[in-house]
């Protein structure tokens, strides 16, 4: 499945959250990552994130798309990152 993850966490923890997410998803913009992920890996990622964040203060939203067939992705302005299998 395809997910879009956005986070809004205290500056003290952004680096940690970003590092964790980067292992599973492609960085797109500040505080936004996306990519294909398996259900198991999503669970793992969530558990890891839960350990880092402060549930009283931080917020992470994960949008889950079973398929990207009906969605389109448009970029206005700079293309900062995303998935690319060719470098």
């Amino acid at each position: 499945m395809f997910v879009i993850l956005v986070y809004d966490v205290n500056v003290k923890r952004v680096a940690k959250v970003l590092k964790t997410c980067r292992r599973y998803l492609h960085w797109v913009q500040n505080s936004v990552l996306e990519g294909d992920i398996t259900e198991a890996n999503l669970k793992k990622l969530k558990v890891e994130l839960m350990k880092i964040i402060d549930k009283e203060e931080d917020s992470i939203i994960i949008y889950i798309l079973r398929t990207t067939k009906y969605s389109a992705r448009q970029i206005v302005g700079l293309n900062k990152g995303g998935e690319n299998l060719f470098i």
Partner: protein, 331 residues
């Protein structure tokens, strides 16, 4: 399914923040999610350190590297994570016992031949004159059962391919891409270059799938096991070459996505330029991702998955659970 990463740019690989980090010569930095990476194929000039290799091994990621000329050079095949002495013994047993080996090899050749026929019949239906090749291959297929040793089986396989490649000119219909005859190391014309490139890609993909099973890539059945290279991936690739590689080549040429401008003549024969390699790989990835409805399983299965399923069937055969049946396309 985990992704394959292709590197064409020059740069450096690092392990950073427990994930893969690539920095190009131009200083462009990029993080790649490890958990979503299955294989890395390197075409550019890349610096690697042991720390990085250690990390790949831990994450069970294979690294394949290709020479400056685009030829397969080797793989960093990490420590076996799916270790099975039992399976190696079964594999060896089926290799040493001439009859057992022959029965698997026969099935592999039969599978390859039938898939070749499938491709040719598709073009026959589109009014291409491929009848001669079809007849030759059908007669050759009939002789498999009477074939009593591996070399003659290899000969049948070779003759089938020859008849098959003869039909290529008829199918492609481009004077720039005539086949003449099969030349390798180095390929002597454009079409041969494409075939070689596609085949070596498929070999590495099969190797990657073998790594994810308990099978040992060193013990092949049709191809003779030797001291030099992996052979099981060559066996499995035989079945899928017509379905994947050749079809990709036909569509690349049919849609004029690759033209003669995409090649250059080097001391190592005719070489593809980077643009053409990328284009080829993109189409191949596209193909591997497409799904078909699998008759037995009853759900959609990608081509890449089909390769793995083929290996599972082989495992079952080796364990004596179910006789191996090669995958034969019905479309």
């Amino acid at each position: 399914m985990k992704k394959t990463l292709y590197i064409f740019t020059n740069g450096q690989f690092h392990r950073k923040d427990n994930t893969i980090y690539f920095e190009t010569e131009q200083g462009e930095k990029r993080f790649i999610p490890v958990e979503d990476t299955g294989e890395i194929m390197i075409f550019g000039e890349v610096d690697i350190n042991k720390r990085f290799l250690e990390f790949l091994s831990q994450k069970e990621i294979i690294l394949h590297y290709f020479s400056h000329y685009g030829y397969y050079m080797g793989s960093f095949y990490p420590r076996e994570h799916l270790n099975s002495g039992y399976m190696i013994l079964r594999q060896a047993e089926h290799y040493i016992d001439e009859n057992k080996r022959l029965s698997i090899a026969r099935l592999l050749v039969e599978g390859a031949g039938k898939n070749i026929l499938r491709v040719l019949k598709y073009y026959k239906a589109r009014d291409k004159k491929v009848d001669n090749s079809i007849v030759t291959i059908e007669t050759l297929l009939g002789t498999i059962a009477t074939c009593n040793d591996i070399p003659s089986l290899m000969a049948i396989e070779g003759n089938m391919r020859e008849a098959y490649y003869k039909a290529f000119d008829e199918i492609i219909e481009l004077p720039d891409f005539i086949f003449e005859n099969r030349t390798r190391r180095p390929p002597k014309n454009y079409l041969n270059t494409l075939i070689s490139f596609g085949n070596s890609l498929l070999y590495t993909i099969c190797l990657g799938e073998i790594y994810r099973t308990h099978l040992d890539p060193r013990i092949g059945f049709l191809h003779t096991t030797n001291f030099r290279r992996f052979t099981l991936n060559l066996d499995i690739a035989e079945i899928f070459k017509p379905l994947i590689v050749d079809r990709v080549i036909f569509s690349l040429l049919g849609r004029k996505m690759i033209t003669t401008d995409d090649f250059e003549r080097g001391s190592e024969g005719i070489l593809m330029k980077d643009r053409a390699k990328r284009c080829f790989i993109e189409q191949m990835e596209e193909k591997l991702k497409t799904t078909i409805k699998h008759r037995e399983i009853g759900r959609a299965v990608s081509y890449r998955r089909l390769i793995r399923l083929e290996l599972y069937k082989l495992e079952k055969h080796l364990m004596g659970e179910k006789v191996y049946e090669p995958f034969i396309a019905t479309w």
